[in-house]
């Protein structure tokens, strides 16, 4: 166990040495920190209304002003980050786990199973995400879980396809043949030898996918299909700010800036991670 920790340390060290990676690390770290300790950070209850102080600009009392119901925007931005991660992380890791499993089965299993799974992937991919989300939300009503499920379902094929392609390339590689000639079982080949070769690629894909999912959640919330209204979300903030932009610009800033920062941060981190996890590149830096 101590060994894998040092390996993780090595990866973090590698990312931190890259300026863009360091920036990504700082941004993502800040977002995660704020999300985890949100309840101690927020100065006000993010859903407490105070009609008296509505639509204020930035002040000492309200860091980013207040919205049309007098709720503190800064508190809502911080809590919104928590909501964004609550959607993005389970959706991306769920999709990655399922996509990886199905993709490896498709790549290593018999031809008919491969065809069946590919048909399944293509069917899902043929739905436009937003339309699919609209349909599901119309059916079961808007909630955090619905958003997670929709995002997960629509991103499984992406991971599945990458995992399948990697498995197909690997299964014909000489070291897998060598492994088979050493009497390794299918379980061992897939679990011990193929998985570490695939998981690195997928992890990078996941890191780059998180901003997409955050933006998607914001988009759905903007359309009123995401999380339910009193719950703060960056998308909902944007939506409120959009209709009130003539009265106060601060809601748009409060909703938009974190989305931009989160997208940039995760993308930088993902790209830097991609360079670092590749053991062939590790030596050269």
């Amino acid at each position: 166990m101590a060994k894998s920790r040092s390996e993780l340390g090595q990866i973090i060290h590698g990312v931190a040495r890259d300026p863009l990676g360091l920036m990504g690390l700082i941004i993502v770290g800040t977002i995660v920190f704020c999300a985890v300790f949100a309840i101690w950070i927020v100065p006000y209850d993010p859903v407490a209304m105070n009609i008296k102080d509505r639509l204020q600009g930035p002040s000492a009392a309200h860091f980013l002003g207040t919205d049309q119901l007098g709720r503190d925007t800064f508190s809502r931005v911080v809590m919104g980050g928590q909501v964004a991660l609550k959607v993005a992380l389970p959706a991306v890791f769920g999709a990655m786990a399922i996509g990886l499993t199905l993709g490896m089965i498709a790549g290593y299993g018999p031809k008919w199973l491969d065809n069946l799974l590919m048909l399944f992937f293509d069917t899902i991919r043929s739905f436009p995400t937003v339309m699919f989300a609209l349909a599901v939300v119309a059916l079961v009503g808007p909630s955090l879980q619905t958003v997670v499920l929709v995002v997960m379902a629509t991103s499984i094929p992406t991971y599945g396809r990458v995992a399948r392609t990697q498995t197909l390339t690997l299964r014909n590689s000489e070291f897998i043949l060598a492994e088979r000639s050493m009497g390794a079982s299918m379980k061992r080949i897939l679990g011990v030898h193929m998985l570490p070769n695939i998981v690195g690629v997928l992890a990078v894909l996941a890191a780059m996918d998180i901003p997409t999912v955050i933006a998607l959640e914001a988009g759905l919330s903007f359309l009123g299909l995401g999380v339910k209204p009193p719950t703060p979300s960056w998308g909902a903030l944007l939506k409120d700010g959009y209709s009130l932009i003539r009265q106060t610009p601060w809601l748009v800033v409060g909703g938009g800036l974190p989305i931009i920062l989160a997208t940039l941060g995760f993308t930088f981190l993902g790209e830097s991670l991609r360079d670092v996890v590749d053991p062939k590149l590790r030596k050269q830096r």
Partner: protein, 326 residues
Amino acid sequence: MSDTLLEIDRLSVDYETARGDLKALRDISFDVRKGEIVGIVGESGCGKSTLISSILRLTAPNTRFRQGEVRFKGEDLLQLPERKMRNLRGADISIVFQDPMQTHNPVLSIGQQMLDIQHRSKTSKPEKRTRAAKMLGAVGIPDPEARLDQFPHEFSGGMRQRIAIAMALMSEPDLLIADEPTTALDATLEVQIIERLQELQQEFDCAILFISHHLGVIAELCDRVVVMYAGAVVESGEVREIFHDPKHPYTRRLIDCDPGHIKERARVLPTIPGEVPDLANLPGGCIFRDRCDQAMARCASEVPPLAQLKEGHHAACWLNHKEAAE
């Protein structure tokens, strides 16, 4: 029990292709005795690789075993259930592949891989690690304990091949198959690997089936040699016999083509004219007939049998027929 370890008996293997059945191996028979090094020589496409994948039963899905047996310690491997076959691979029979740059998993350290292939052994992790380090030391990797934590790309080609040999010998197999283990390496490394194999063979007392198209290496290393041409055995016997008194025209030409045997300076290296016949549409008679300078009328009509000329020396050529009859 006899001292025969591996016995290939009239093995014929086809590949089903769109053009029809490709007769990759026809009527192959030879054996490997315990602790012996047998070489298989032949040009590219003569079925060497098909032969070893047939022994290990790691063949492509379009492979069909038409006839014959592959007996290992008296048991026909072609009839063995997959589970039993898998337990044999890497334990009793193991293999070293041609390209050392490809045979290791690029994302796992050498140590992780060497520990992993000991999955059958019940020993503890530190014990397995010690054993892995000992094996690395045995193939001449300096500072093995520290190098276990390195990744394949941190080793040179020659080292990687030695590591592959260490891995193959880890389970102390009875039979080691070496599939052109030196082809991808340069000449100096080739000598190193060959010497190392010889030492290790003495130490572990395993039989080696050594596949190569380099006659010099075969002459250096092997006790006996099997010459293959277009999916059939054309000659087999003691190394000394084959090299000093080849009985098949193909063997003779092959030896003439070895640059090590050429005495005078030549602008053009000798070659055997012609091409290997199409294995999907085999011509009748002797397969080497079109390229043979001593072909006779009989060669076109009848396939020459692999006849015993002397104790342990066989050749498939009508030229020897009178000798063979005596």
